[in-house]
């Protein structure tokens, strides 16, 4: 199947030459790696970004400029998703990555320094555009974090004090269950789905990103805090923690590093970052019961 076959009527080429923006508005979204600036928005699209619950960043130079371009609705296939989840299509190149979904096509330059991103979309309606923006920002975040030696990790982040514990696992592993338990205890919870890890002088820090999971908990926005522990989670009949061998730790982390872990041009870099991460903060395997009652053992 060629790139775009599922979502684009005539492939990506007819869209790539379109340069007309939707409107005049701009909006900055602050993410751990810097600012993403959406340009050429309508007021409707601008309002849609409110739903991402991000705070406006200072108007400094954007780390990623997202040039929003208007596209003819006929350029995209009409598919009745009816709220069903679908899988994006990707096209991986050494210097860029493209992806497409329901009513949009994105092209992101990758590498060091500020990078350009182009978003072609037929979507102006706020709720739908908010979904498009999520599908842009999640992937931009994964790539930009990797560019600077960090990683976006499928995880629940809990900050019982000045440091943060990260519980990582694939879908269904129990991230939202653990996050809900932490919230019930009054602990600070970042996202229960995706969190950003960034390299720091003495290890890694955890930063929140505006992406929620099953818990639908609006992430608490905190200054990045030191990563105290990494737990690869799995539900079991009894609570237990065991050390992981470095290779097992890296393999488990790789599976939970979305988007970049299936990009052949980024996998080597991802393994570098994860090897460093596992060396600085060796992950443990945490077997836990439902309802969650392991907190005394890890805090």
């Amino acid at each position: 199947m060629s790139f775009g076959e599922q979502f684009l009527s005539n492939g990506p080429e007819p869209l790539l030459s379109l340069t007309q923006g939707w409107g005049e508005a701009s909006r900055d979204i602050h993410l751990p790696f810097g600012t993403c600036r959406f340009d050429n928005l309508t007021e409707s699209q601008h309002r849609a970004l409110d739903t991402l619950d991000v705070r406006d960043a200072p108007l400094d130079r954007a780390h990623v400029d997202i040039d929003v371009r208007s596209a003819d609705p006929g350029a995209f296939r009409n598919i009745a998703w009816d709220g069903l989840e679908y899988e994006l299509e990707f096209d991986y190149r050494p210097d860029r990555v493209s992806w497409t979904g329901d009513g949009f096509l994105v092209e992101l330059e990758t590498g060091d320094g500020p990078r350009a991103c182009r978003l072609w979309t037929r979507v102006n309606e706020p709720a739908h555009f908010a979904g498009v923006a999520q599908n842009v920002l999640r992937i931009v975040a994964a790539y930009r974090l990797l560019d600077i030696g960090g990683v976006l990790l499928h995880s629940a982040a809990v900050a019982p004090n000045e440091e943060t514990l990260l519980f990582y696992g694939t879908s269904g592993a129990g991230k939202s269950t653990i996050a809900a338990s932490a919230l019930a205890l009054g602990l600070t919870v970042l996202s229960d789905d995706l969190n950003a890890l960034l390299p720091a002088a003495d290890g890694f820090v955890v930063a929140s990103v505006p992406f929620t999971g099953d818990l639908d908990h609006v992430p608490d926005r905190l200054a990045p805090s030191p990563l105290a522990a990494l737990y690869q989670i799995r539900q079991a009949a009894e609570n237990a923690t065991t050390q992981l061998q470095a290779s097992q730790a890296v393999a488990g982390l790789a599976v939970c590093s979305p988007f970049v872990n299936i990009d052949p041009h980024r996998q080597a870099g991802l393994l570098d970052v994860l090897t460093q991460l596992a060396a600085r903060v060796p992950p443990e395997k945490l077997l836990f019961t439902k309802p969650v009652d392991f907190w005394e053992g890890v805090i």
Binding site: Q245, A246, Q248, A251, G252, A254, P258, I262, Q267, L271
Partner: protein, 92 residues
């Protein structure tokens, strides 16, 4: 079943790294990761050099104190498993 005369090589979309003597394999299409033993990691390294399974067994027999028959059996089983996981493919 894998043949000792066959040359296997890792798929182009597979990334492989040795960490603490064990191998970590990431499969591009699925994003799945596989951990293999130190011997498995060595076999994959040797497969990168496009050698027959028999050549690989010969090299391993000089590196590990394991009976040759056991190495042959293990290498064939390992190659079968990697083929079924889509990690390696038969060359040619």
């Amino acid at each position: 079943m894998s043949s000792l005369d066959a040359i296997y090589r890792p798929h182009d979309d597979v990334r492989f790294r040795v960490i603490d003597s064990q191998g970590v394999i990431i499969c591009q299409n699925s994003g799945e990761a596989i951990v293999v033993s130190n011997v498995g990691a060595r076999i994959l390294e040797l497969m990168n050099a496009e050698r027959t399974l028999l050549d690989i067994v010969h090299t391993l027999s000089g590196e590990y104190e394991v009976a040759r028959e056991t190495l042959v059996e293990d290498a064939i089983t390992f190659a079968d498993e990697l083929v079924s996981c889509g990690v390696i493919e038969l060359k040619g």
